[in-house]
């Protein structure tokens, strides 16, 4: 068993120990120091604690023969006979990783009547499309879909498996990862690969303002899920590439104790993901009354309004307009963040916007680390002035004077 060894004699000052651990795992009672089961083995106590006080002991170093596993697999989600756009984003990323590690991109598509979807995938530079096309796979049901994933993995032995972080992906990927007893990193925001095929996975972690760099060194495939809009959509080429292979599974592998009774479309909402300009409001904007400023500005700029989680939780903004780790990911042309502190959970959902302007009265706000233009000031003063300038055409006059 790997563990953290505690050398009591090297820990003269017990009062500083508990604070070393972000997970409250170090317990001190009198002279007794112990580590409880909430430990995440982040090893910060080893690194930052008194020299030699905490020592990481790793017993068995598992290894894997990497040469048996090759290829970047992408799960293609079919939604109403169409390819979900997050799946194309995964192909784009897979292509990039494949180039670097000299591997192939293999798309796995599951459903019923897949001919068109499989052909369409060929316009996105895949090396191979594996299509499991069966009436029994028409609706998403976890058991048959997992059986297909399993069959595909045995067949292709991919080193990496990328899955879009949709409701379906977030059920299917962990289920399959558990079946293969391999690792899965959810909601990655950065993915990279080493030449030896080791996947570098980065995500905001531990519910704090911290990023974690995660690897799956001794298990394959290396599963990662990524939310919609984190990575860009790749270009559709004008000519096709790669091959399509069709597979099927025996009927007894496709049974399920789930019956889909009804599927209905959600009301068409104006998707935040498609907005070109977003004005996002945080707790610094606060009240219903002040939100009118945001609404007004968004009308003038033809923008959509969005918010941080506290704004959603206090009922001021529609939950579908939450940006961030537990909300939506957006990449608009312009995002104006007003009264937002800039926690990683928020910025994870917007830091790939092309242009980010932040207004915050606190010069040390973390949002200024993410913004391209940081305006240190009171949003409740600046926004009304901006609005009235726009409404009165002041800047038009100024511009005319400049000519």
């Amino acid at each position: 068993m790997s563990y953290i060894e505690i050398n009591n004699d090297k820990l003269p000052d017990k009062t500083i120990l508990e604070a070393l651990c972000p997970f409250n795992s170090i317990e001190v009672s009198g002279e007794e120091v112990s580590i409880n089961s909430s430990c995440r083995m982040c090893k910060l106590c080893v690194k930052n604690g008194p020299q030699g006080g905490f020592v990481f002991v790793e017993n068995t170093v598992k290894t894997i023969d990497r040469s048996h596993w090759s290829g970047i697999a992408v799960f293609i989600e079919i939604e109403e006979h169409k390819i979900h756009p997050v799946s194309l984003e995964m192909i784009g990323k897979a292509r990039e990783l494949a180039q670097k590690a000299q591997q192939k991109v293999i798309a796995l598509v599951i459903g019923n009547n897949l001919t068109n979807a499989a052909k369409e995938l060929q316009y996105y530079q895949v090396d191979k499309v594996c299509a499991y096309d069966d009436k029994a796979l028409n609706d998403f049901r976890i058991e048959p879909y997992t059986a297909v994933m399993e069959d595909f993995i045995h067949r292709e032995k991919p080193a990496v498996f990328l899955v879009g972080g949709t409701t379906m992906g977030r059920n299917l990927a962990p289920r399959t990862a558990a079946r293969f007893r391999t690792g899965l990193t959810a909601d990655c925001t950065v993915l990279d690969i080493r030449e030896n095929g080791e996947l570098d996975q980065i995500r905001p972690a531990f519910g704090g303002n911290i990023m974690a760099h995660i690897q799956t060194p001794a298990h394959r495939p290396q599963f990662a899920t990524v939310r919609y809009k984190i990575f860009p959509t790749p270009l559709r080429k004008n000519k096709t590439s790669g091959i399509i292979e069709y597979f099927s599974l025996p009927a007894n592998k496709l049974t399920s104790s789930i019956t889909v009774l009804d599927i209905h479309h959600k009301e068409k909402e104006t998707h935040l993901e498609n907005a070109e300009i977003i004005i996002a409001a945080g707790r610094g904007i606060g009240t219903q009354e002040n939100l009118k400023l945001i609404d007004k500005l968004s009308n003038l700029l033809n923008a959509q309004v969005a918010g941080t989680r506290p704004m959603i939780e206090s009922g001021l903004i529609d939950p579908r307009k939450q940006i961030g780790l537990s909300g939506r990911t957006v990449r608009p042309k312009l995002l104006i963040a007003c009264g937002i502190s800039g926690s990683v959970q928020f910025t994870a959902g917007m830091n790939s916007a092309e242009r980010i302007i932040a207004i915050n009265s606190d010069p040390n706000a973390a949002i200024f680390n993410t913004a391209h233009v940081g305006i240190v000031g009171d949003a409740l003063e600046i926004l009304p002035m901006l609005i009235s300038n726009i409404e009165s055409g002041k800047s038009l006059a100024m511009e005319a004077a400049n000519v």
């Binding site: 068993m1 790997s2 563990y3 604070a19 070393l20 972000p22 409250n24 317990e27 580590i35 409880n36 089961s37 909430s38 430990c39 982040c42 930052n48 949709t166 409701t167 977030r170 059920n171 990927a173 962990p174 289920r175 990862a177 558990a178 690792g183 899965l184 959810a186 909601d187 905001p204 531990f206 519910g207 704090g208 303002n209 974690a212 690897q215 799956t216 298990h219 104790s257 789930i258 889909v260 009774l261 009804d262 599927i263 479309h265 003038l300 700029l301 780790l325 537990s326 302007i357 010069p363 200024f368 391209h372 233009v373 940081g374 305006i375 000031g377 600046i382 002035m385 002041k394 800047s395």
Partner: protein, 266 residues
């Protein structure tokens, strides 16, 4: 009808940060609470018990202090509480956590329905339900927003799939992970607090599980490794504006015009 709810103790505050210079963790407080999403899971269990009869058990894996969340579940109405705790679980990632929970559930007994919260506020992976259901070999539906029908052999649930809303029927035994819309969680009651003060919490450790191989748990049973934790990256092409509000407003309008985000309103 026997229902198991998986609940977790999480830090009260998410304000954990890394000092950029020293690399030392900064945190606000060591206080903890029940994972807020698990309150909805509990409420779904109570509502189901009201319709069907039976028992609601809760299980948490965590340090000994995690007993607190079981006490809280008792105060809300849970019948039985189990704490899975062992040093061998230290360093567990999602896989090892889910495996330990599945082993724990199996050692406790048979359940028709297992209910999880949508996600935890500290791990925030929303994967434990799916992985655990695999180890239990039962079906799982996530993002459950309501339970329109409960029968003796099956449950009908509505799940939010993103673009669509699906109504599905699932036979027992099965697992669901519920979303916040499902029911409004009840508050812990003072009466129940007094009633359950001495209610027994069953402690389980590695030796109570079927699979006692400690290579399957904790760090050794975890395929993922945290290589490094670090503060979020800083935008390097940035400019900071200071000044009076009216100047800042003027500058901002000029920028919006220069970059063609605002076409002069004509």
């Amino acid at each position: 009808m026997d229902i198991m709810v998986l609940i977790k103790q999480v830090p009260m505050s998410s304000d954990v940060g890394v000092d950029e210079e020293t690399g030392v963790i900064k945190r606000e407080s060591g206080d903890t609470k029940m994972n807020p999403y698990d309150l909805y899971a509990l409420e779904a269990a109570f509502q189901t018990r009201e319709k069907m009869g039976g028992t609601v058990s809760v299980l948490t894996m965590g340090p000994p202090q995690a007993e607190q969340v079981i006490r809280e579940a008792f105060m809300m109405g849970a019948d039985k509480g189990y704490l899975l705790t062992d040093r061998a679980f230290a360093g567990s990632d999602v896989l090892a956590t889910s495996y330990a929970l599945a082993q724990g559930i199996q050692s406790i007994g048979k359940f028709n329905l297992i209910i999880c919260g949508k996600q935890t506020t500290d791990g925030d992976t929303a994967q434990v339900a799916s992985e655990c259901s695999e180890f239990l070999n039962i079906p799982c539906i996530t993002n459950v927003t309501s339970i329109p029908e409960i029968n003796n052999d099956s449950i009908n649930v509505i799940s939010d799939m993103g673009q669509t809303i699906e109504t599905v029927k699932m036979l027992y035994p099965c697992m669901i992970a519920v979303d916040k819309e499902i029911y409004q969680p009840r508050l812990p009651s003072y009466r129940r607090k007094k009633l359950t003060l001495n209610q027994n919490i069953t402690r389980l450790n590695l030796s109570n599980l079927d699979d006692k191989d400690n290579n399957q748990y904790g760090l050794d049973g975890s395929p993922t490794r945290v290589v490094k934790i670090f503060p979020p990256p800083v935008q390097d092409e940035k400019e900071i504006w200071n000044g009076e509000s009216d100047q800042l407003a003027d500058r901002l309008l000029n920028l919006l015009k220069d970059e063609k985000f605002y076409q002069g309103g004509i």
